[in-house]
């Protein structure tokens, strides 16, 4: 009978400690970080991207892109992230808590079936590349196992002018004559979000690396 308070108290105390230590304390430490501001240069980082990119973020979550893509760059000791150019070329660096202050929910991810996307907007800034890649990853990168997101696009009959955003598809993927594949609003928002993923800004706490330190990109064209 005397055991009960011991068990219950122990079970409570051990768990409460980890809860406070790992869930609450980090809130105090990094829960209220402010953006980096350089008044003189009029330089603020990060910026809270709104509008279409924010919509695209929701598409990114809904399609479960986090299941295969991370958005966090580790330093040299922890892998080849910087050598692969995932930490960008202008200011190659790991990511730190301040990079994510506007992210709700944060999309760090825990799997890299595909490359890290922290700086994909800076690495691959051509929207048409993204449209083609989302429509048919294998069309752009043979051998890719990224799922095709064709349902984010629609086939439209060309009446008059060919739409500006029609996909430049050739070969088997091309629609029959007189039709064009165009992105739906979801795809447009998603690509706007991908293009907004650009953390190429130096931050003191991330230890600025020499801009030239990164090797040549080994990512897809």
């Amino acid at each position: 009978m005397k055991q009960f308070p011991v068990i219950f108290g122990g079970v409570f105390a051990t768990f409460a400690l980890s809860f406070i230590g790992l869930a609450m304390v980090p809130q105090l430490q990094i829960g209220n970080l402010q953006p980096f501001v350089d008044e003189d240069a009029g330089d603020i980082y990060p910026i809270n991207a709104g509008g279409q990119a924010a919509q695209g973020r929701k598409v990114y979550i809904a399609e479960g892109c986090v299941a295969c893509h991370s958005q966090q760059v580790r330093d040299e000791q922890m892998g080849a992230d910087l050598a692969r150019g995932w930490g960008d070329y202008k200011f190659p660096r790991r990511t730190v808590a301040r990079d994510y202050i506007y992210d709700q929910p944060v999309l760090l991810g825990s799997m890299r079936t595909g490359p890290d996307l922290t700086n994909i907007g800076s690495r691959q800034s051509n929207p048409m590349w993204h449209y083609l890649h989302l429509y048919s990853p294998r069309y752009v990168t043979p051998g890719s196992i990224m799922p095709p997101f064709r349902f984010l696009f629609e086939k439209r009959k060309i009446t008059g002018q060919r739409p500006d955003d029609a996909l430049d598809l050739t070969g088997v993927e091309a629609p029959e004559a007189g039709y064009a594949i165009v992105p739906k609003p979801e795809a447009k928002a998603l690509v706007a979000y991908l293009l907004s993923l650009d953390h190429s800004h130096a931050l003191k706490e991330a230890g600025e690396a020499e801009p030239a330190a990164a090797a040549q990109p080994a990512t897809s064209k």
């Binding site: 299941a67 892998g79 808590a97 890719s144 196992i145 897809s220």
Partner: protein
């Protein structure tokens, strides 16, 4: 803390007949809720199996069923993990805990209907959650994908179960508190806290600290909740079937307390090298290394309890599944310790290796122990014995070889994937080529699992409709030559 050794029912004072009648009454009181949780759990396990096969296929054949938004990898993978954990794992854990709690406290379960209502709530919650994931309404945190509406239902349902468990504990008629009860009390207490706190905090925080909460939750769920129910069941079933006490009660309590102390601190190994203050992963790596203590104490205890009686693996389905699970647990902790080291994490982080570790805990350990529990518990509830030893054998080998293959392929494939990413000269398409063969082999493992689950599901249905063998002798793989009574 006592250091004496004993079996779960050693505090019996009544005569054998009275005790048997008493036990039958206690079992009968838990019949409806336990069978309800088991039946729904197995139905979800079936769904999880289908999702698992599709997810596995998508890793090497992305165009397969490619036109269905609900079936793309990004949705089917979380649908798989969530049905496995919340559809199958938790209800199986709840069913087993209710039965064990009634047995160990030696009290009949009161108002079982309330638990069934809890079970209905739980299942509505899981249904809403899984449909939400498949339709893209999810949160981007592992095992916290369910939207708030579903999470609230799960929280209420489990809290009800906890309260009922504590009521039984409060009314207990046994003096000494057996180690299994400790684990179950821990589980009743930890799950609502973990799940409630994680869901509330995820909704009210932002930025990198949010990822810390998700990691704390994930590791708590695996290392405190599933581990507690699983090890609790192992500590009950092995001595029961062997008819001998656990080797050392002292080691068991040491294992329990060190687990309780360190497991909650291990979560941040999921963020090693990530954008969080460096002390967080460092603390968790230290805690993971400290998990050596529960690893050694619990494993040594199982090994020595079984010592000289390993032949029971050959006869008893319960023992075969349970001991498989128990050693899988040891392996999972060992893997967790090794991969927590920064030099290894470098290779395995962000790869299929971590998916392998997840399935090692949730499937090879927990699910196998639950199968073992069901083989023991269900005949005592429905009043007939399992129909066919061959069915059980197919179930075991399908599940063991199938999941063994899946996990092995995820481990080797994950290491190959990590190694390829470490070489900056390899393009992403080439990296895929390095681990894809293992992903194909994984799908073969899944097909074995489908077979095993199909057989078990049918076998269970037969029991549900009381089509089993008339009571009397338990269904064994082979007749026991000597020793061993309750199997």
């Amino acid at each position: 803390m006592t250091t004496q050794t004993e079996t779960p029912s050693s505090s019996a004072v009544t005569s054998i007949e009275v005790e048997a009648v008493d036990r039958a009454l206690i079992d009968a009181s838990t019949r409806a809720p336990v069978m309800f949780f088991y039946t729904t759990a197995l139905t979800w396990l079936f769904a999880a199996t289908v999702f698992g096969v599709i997810a596995s296929l998508k890793m090497h054949a992305p165009e397969f069923l490619g036109g269905w938004p609900a079936l793309t990898y990004g949705r089917i993978w979380p649908a798989f993990t969530n049905t496995l954990v919340y559809g199958w794992g938790c209800p199986a854990a709840i069913g087993t805990s209710i039965w064990l709690m009634a047995r160990l406290c030696r009290v009949a379960l009161r108002s079982p209907a309330a638990l069934i209502i809890g079970g209905i709530f739980w299942n509505i919650g899981v249904t809403v959650g899984v449909i939400s994931i498949l339709s893209g309404n999810m949160r981007p945190f592992e095992l916290l994908e369910f939207p708030r509406s579903a999470a609230i239902l799960l929280f209420i349902a489990y809290s009800l179960v906890s309260v009922w468990g504590l009521i039984m504990f409060n009314k207990r008629r046994s003096g000494h508190i057996y180690i299994t009860t400790w684990y179950l009390l821990g589980a009743f207490f930890w799950f609502p806290w973990l799940y409630g706190a994680a869901n509330v905090m995820i909704g009210h925080t932002h930025g990198a600290a949010q990822a810390g909460i998700a990691a704390w939750y994930m590791q708590g769920l695996l290392g405190l909740f599933f581990t507690s129910v699983g090890l609790g069941a192992v500590y009950y079933l092995i001595p029961k079937v062997l008819g001998r006490p656990i080797h050392s009660y002292y080691l068991a309590s040491l294992g329990f307390w060190t687990q309780a102390l360190f497991a909650g601190w291990t979560g941040m190994t999921r963020l090693t090298g990530g954008p969080v203050p460096a002390w967080m992963p460092t603390v968790s790596i230290a805690a993971t290394i400290m998990m050596l203590i529960p690893l050694v104490t619990v494993t040594v205890n199982h090994v020595l309890t079984m010592y000289g009686r390993y032949d029971m693996v050959y006869y008893s389905p319960t023992i075969r599944f349970t001991i498989f699970g128990a050693f899988a647990w040891s392996l999972s902790i060992f893997a967790a310790i090794i991969t927590s080291l920064r030099s290894v994490d470098r290779l395995t982080h962000f790869t299929q290796f971590s998916a392998g570790q997840f399935q090692l805990i949730v499937y090879a350990f927990f699910t196998m122990v639950m199968f073992g529990s069901m083989y023991y518990i269900v005949p005592r509830l429905v009043g007939c014995e399992w129909l066919s030893a061959t069915f059980i054998r197919v179930h075991f080998w399908g599940a063991a070889y199938g999941m063994g293959l899946v996990i092995l392929m995820l481990f080797i494939g994950g290491a190959a994937q990590g190694d390829a990413w470490l070489d900056p000269q390899l393009s992403p398409a080439l990296v895929i080529g390095y681990f894809q063969p293992y992903m194909i082999a994984r799908t073969i493992g899944w097909l074995l699992i489908v077979l095993a689950h199909l057989i078990f599901f049918l076998h269970f249905l037969a029991m549900l409709f009381r089509l089993g063998q008339p009571s009397g002798e338990p269904t064994l793989f082979a007749a026991i030559e000597e020793g061993g009574d309750h199997v």
